[in-house]
Symmetry: C2
Subunit: 436 residues, 2 copies
């Protein structure tokens, strides 16, 4: 293919009318597809049907301490669920608590506690005046929305190939108003980047001016490899160990959930941190809740143990289940890549990277075209994530990021949606060049 | 029986040695009973075993809008769960949202939103300086703990026979630092009092100085009658209608859960308020969570529909289930009353009222003895709720309230525990009179 930049105006006009015809044809098909969020597909959720009947009815659902999961209490979650989530996060049992279905709530509430009560003796952040938070960008809109809601100024930090630009981070944390950094360290949302060991070590060794600065480590995709049995899986350095070694034992919070393992609407979540941080959190939680839904915690453990092959094998169950889900997801990611290659390779109008895991593909249009492309796709029946959503405040200064979420649509729908997306990208580019 | 006050010192001494012998005998039995919290008993929880398999595995668990409960979204909860909880609270569908397993979390988070963001345009309470909250007393320790944690001064308001002392409440709310009142309006914790229509109307018609004053209406025992088929059930005036009629449409929040209907550790909860208040809450929740556990919501509806006799009959299912549970609980309440009557009637050392519903019996010792009695019972193996817990800050000025929670122990254990409690009360009274 010849790059659009090398075409003559006449050739561009010919291309334009061909693309317009294809776009109109798509519009007439009356598509109704949604690729806005990284939602698991119904068939993917079907794979966890065993979860619905994981608990036998002929015996009481007791945890491994003999406590009744149906009754009040056990703020940290039942031991077997804590073990499972500790395994998932790669931290010791004593560093984990297990919550309800939304890890976002664990993150939000952690920021809220900092605001209301202060962290480990620090002044409550509501009394500290100006507050700032570091946002590796492009990044996850729901993270940014949390700190924005609490009045933080979200500071974008460019993502490099191996994680956030650590020179900028190191400089930023010399400002005592900077209270934290959002990280999706493995298969980042939306680029699929995994932080290098160097980046993890530099994060762990930060010397922030603020004593209440924390690393929010949302390890959302820890076992979400697309090719789990090959060498094509990213490995992430253990942040806890790195922080301990760097003399920063209390600087980290980790989060995870089974939203994309079991059910996005009915999974379990986990928060890990130093034992001292966790004790402080537990004291607050004992006022906020009568305990998490422990029946669902036990349901998850039993279901995963059944997959893993027996008692105590729930973590193995996760790995086995994720291998199966990878078999459903990888073809979708490959389809996106294939269609984009077929339609866009060599035209000089878009860049994207096919990730090895996670839930997203980040595509960059020519500068200034992302909003237009997303709007055109919507007009033809395909809803994408809002352009700009990957930036704090929803403002992408280059207006070029488009986040593709391939997980939800069926593969034949995905093929159509990507073809339409590519046509919109090409159309917008041709129009820009002709106007230019 | 002759009142202890009318016994001679010699008679008191004889009584003392007899009681000491009985107490020692109890101690030697090595009891290990816990009546500290209003926990459902294991057999009571067994009655909800159908909940574990309420969802079929051969079809997708979709809600009545066809949305997949296993996936993200639906911040307010699925429609059929909202209908159910609206019915339970006696408010329209549009006024309800359904959350996860802990209604305490809904209350805590509601107070937190007032602190952090302010309510309906009011200044965030973190910026308002001194804050006060009204606490009908004796009352529920977990309520008081929430406002205490946020730095409110908890103001005790004496409970009368038909609810809080409304003259004092009306006067208190002329103070703009007073931001709310905790209410358990039906079968109150711990007295079992139901607010009279007059009290509800006076609450609804309050003219608080603070625009962000709210009534926190924790209708925890709305269907928890001990004698549901008889005339011995309390009826509670509808607060929402009363507030609407009084021109105070936004002054109320209602809360409920299925903790004592299905599972204390795995139920569903609800928050109701005016549509305007609810819209504000939903906007915050859309940042805090990806949605509640909708699978568990659907599981509850299906299970209760099966009990109630079919689709749309979940509320009938609750009433039927609660009639059955009442059959298990009423004998326990009657046993407490019977033992206390047998051991204490006429001695002039204790008062208690046998309630018609709820989860507690409130007993009053002679002034100054509650802590001692609770400690003596504990030494002999029976853990009661801490003396003073029914008062803000855990400080009962008369040191006389003891909260009895009959639901958890088996009935023969309960009989022993109450006999021991009565012996402790008598012993402490005799010692006080002899010392006096």
């Amino acid at each position: 293919m010849i790059a659009y930049q090398d075409l003559s105006p006449l050739e561009l006009k010919a291309e334009l009318s061909e693309l317009q015809a294809r776009y109109t044809a798509f519009k007439e098909r009356g598509l109704k597809l949604n690729m806005a969020r990284g939602k698991p597909s119904p068939s993917q959720l079907d794979q966890a049907a065993g979860l619905l009947v994981a608990l036998p009815t002929d015996q009481r659902p007791l945890d491994s301490n003999g406590e009744d999961t149906r009754n009040y209490g056990i703020i940290r979650g039942i031991p077997e669920a804590c073990s499972l989530m500790a395994g998932l996060l790669g931290v010791p049992f004593a560093n984990v608590l297990v919550g309800n279905n939304s890890s976002l709530t664990l993150m939000y509430d952690t920021v809220a506690r900092g605001m209301l009560f202060g962290l480990r003796g620090a002044t409550p952040m509501t009394q500290q005046g100006k507050l700032r938070f570091l946002c590796p960008t492009p990044g996850y809109d729901r993270h940014f929305a949390v700190t924005e809601a609490f009045g933080f100024e979200n500071i974008p930090i460019p993502m490099l190939d191996d994680g956030p630009d650590m020179d900028l981070v190191q400089n930023a944390v010399t400002d005592p108003t900077v209270k934290g950094i959002w990280c999706v360290p493995k298969y980042s949302n939306p680029q699929g980047i995994t932080y290098s060991d160097t980046v993890v070590r530099r994060l762990a060794a930060l010397k922030p001016a603020a004593p209440d600065f924390r690393i929010y480590w949302d390890n959302a995709y820890s076992v979400h490899d697309l090719y789990p049995d090959s060498v094509y899986t990213a490995s992430l350095l253990d942040l806890k160990t790195a922080c301990d070694e760097a003399g920063n034992p209390d600087i980290w919070y980790m989060f995870a959930s089974t939203s994309k393992i079991s059910y996005a609407g009915g999974g379990i979540s986990a928060l890990a941190s130093s034992e001292a941080n966790l004790a402080e959190i537990e004291a607050h939680l004992s006022i906020q809740t009568i305990g998490p839904d422990k029946v669902n915690q036990l349901r998850h453990v039993r279901w995963l143990e059944a997959i893993g092959g027996g008692e105590g094998l729930a973590l193995q169950g996760i790995h086995q289940h994720m291998r199966m889900l990878a078999g459903m997801l990888a073809p979708k990611f490959e389809m996106v890549d294939e269609v984009l290659n077929r339609e866009l390779a060599g035209l000089g109008v878009a860049n994207w990277v096919k990730p090895l895991g996670g839930y997203f593909i980040l595509l960059d249009t020519l500068p200034g075209l992302a909003k237009q492309v997303v709007a055109m796709a919507k007009d033809a029946g395909v809803v994408l994530t809002d352009a700009g959503a990957t930036w704090p405040g929803g403002k992408d200064p280059n207006d070029s990021n488009i986040r593709i979420a391939p997980s939800y649509p069926a593969i034949e729908e995905l093929e159509m949606a990507c073809e339409l997306l590519a046509i919109c990208i090409r159309l917008a580019a041709v129009e820009q060049l002709l106007a230019g």
